[in-house]
Symmetry: C2
DNA sequence: CGGTGGATTGACGGATGTCAACGAGTGTGG
DNA sequence: CCACACTCGTTGACATCCGTCAATCCACCG
């Protein structure tokens, strides 16, 4: 999932480390490819991931916490529901969806994550993940072993505060999704979804007016609580009304105010 | 909101403090009635609010953090959206709803809180609350000034972990509500709602089979993403099917398995 | 070239919203 | 004590949004 014109390559592998692959740490489910991480202190996403006011000492400590990254291919899972919780993750490149599943097969996509956004916060509560995190495209995440992160947060007030804010932000995000699912029409949901995505892309230096959806209509519907046919119809309606120009997965937002008014 | 036969009185005012009212700490919005708190170390709800394995030293420290309680009358707000965030709260007696509101007047109830459950976690993220917390009946909360709580969490590993778990639990709770709103029929939502409430009451020593809803049909509907008439119809249907016996706000669950099968 | 999966569009039906009437319960004031 | 207003809950009739089912189209790929 990236914006056009894609500055993807620059953000994809900031200070791209072509270092030799390090022996993988023990992993519960699979021997996933891991690589030493680029240092947080020099990462181009640090402004998105990390508090703005960390001292250089704190960045040095942080670099000892975030030691590795992991590649996840399109369609593969970073973690699954019921996996033991060990680490938090930050999307470095690519994108993910998180899915909660009911025993009867009902699925709900609870979020789409793009670079700089956290993954895994659901696992802290019970020590076990409660959702699947699935890559929408070939992606990379930074791995933050939670035990070490906790230790660091006891030493650094700023980092401690940051982690609380991250989690609280997730709570607020989900609240507004509940509002979306509980009170809005299908048309309003899709409009809100597109505006939210646009804003998040823009905050990362991508174009907010034109971007590429890495998720299918079905996945969008599963996130917005509607069927894929309805998603498709709403896209068509927006096109008729001159609000967006959808071209398959390529989306151009023509009239932001119009979308907001829906 | 309490169970029948109400053991309400025992849980209502555990070790009820009839101490003189302490000079209220400065409060942004109102001079709310505050009283010194019963000590966490001797509170009958401590098993619900706090980690099970705190040492006595930690409880002593905790007692210096949770110094005051506050009464909130039915219909009044504990905090409002846009209020400055200062403290986390734990419901001690009574019950609350949290409501997020859109500028156009759309409202969504994001949760109902009963004794032992946290309030205010939404405020950490931006330093400003993002929802209203409104008492459904005359209620009491324990006040945990966030700055002091943070300090305590840097000293106590267990307390630090507990706060992370609390927040993560809220994230997971909201995820399952998204699933409810996104994938379930009106009938299934109401069934899930009743079962969830029953479980929470039971975990607090109340009856899970019979309880008293303090919220109106409209508030239930606003929480479950449906209209009050639909809530009412679903209650009637459950009654016809012999699953619950609703008597206004008094609810008796007759067939738990049947409700779960819906 | 055909097979496959995703997207689009149409026709139809059902779940739920909307509007309205009515009854029960409660508080208030004469 | 009663009359009254008011809120809340229930129920019915009808409308509508969206889900379901099906056909078609398109891009991609072996």
């Amino acid at each position: 999932m990236y914006a056009e014109p894609a500055c993807d390559s620059s953000l994809s592998t900031p200070f791209a480390a072509r270092w030799p692959i390090v022996p993988a740490q023990p992993d519960v489910r699979e021997a996933a490819p891991r690589k030493p991480a680029t240092r947080c202190s020099t990462c181009s996403l640090r402004g998105v991931c990390m508090p703005p006011d960390l001292t250089s000492t704190e960045f040095e400590q942080l670099d000892t916490v975030v030691l590795t990254t992991r590649n996840v291919h399109r369609g593969e899972t970073l973690f699954r529901a019921h996996d033991a919780f060990q680490s938090l993750y930050a999307v470095r490149t690519g994108s993910f969806k998180t899915v909660v599943m009911h025993r009867d097969g009902r699925e709900q996509v609870t979020g789409f994550q793009i670079p700089g956004e956290p993954l895994g916060l659901d696992g802290i509560c019970s020590g076990t993940h409660s959702c699947d995190a699935i890559a929408l495209e070939d992606s990379t995440v930074c791995i933050m072993p939670f035990g070490q992160l906790e230790s660091f947060c006891r030493e650094s007030r700023r980092m401690q505060r940051h982690l609380y804010q991250l989690m609280s932000g997730e709570i607020v995000r989900e609240s507004s999704l509940m509002m979306l699912l509980g009170t809005m029409t299908a048309e309003q949901r899709l409009a809100a979804f597109l505006l939210d995505l646009a804003e998040r892309f823009q905050a990362r230096g991508y174009s907010g007016a034109q971007f590429n959806l890495k998720m299918s209509r079905e996945e969008i519907g599963c996130f917005l609580g509607m069927k894929l046919e309805t998603v498709s119809r709403m896209f068509s309606r927006f096109q008729r009304e001159g609000l967006v120009e959808p071209n398959g997965k390529q989306i151009r937002i023509v009239d932001v105010e119009g979308l907001a008014r829906v």
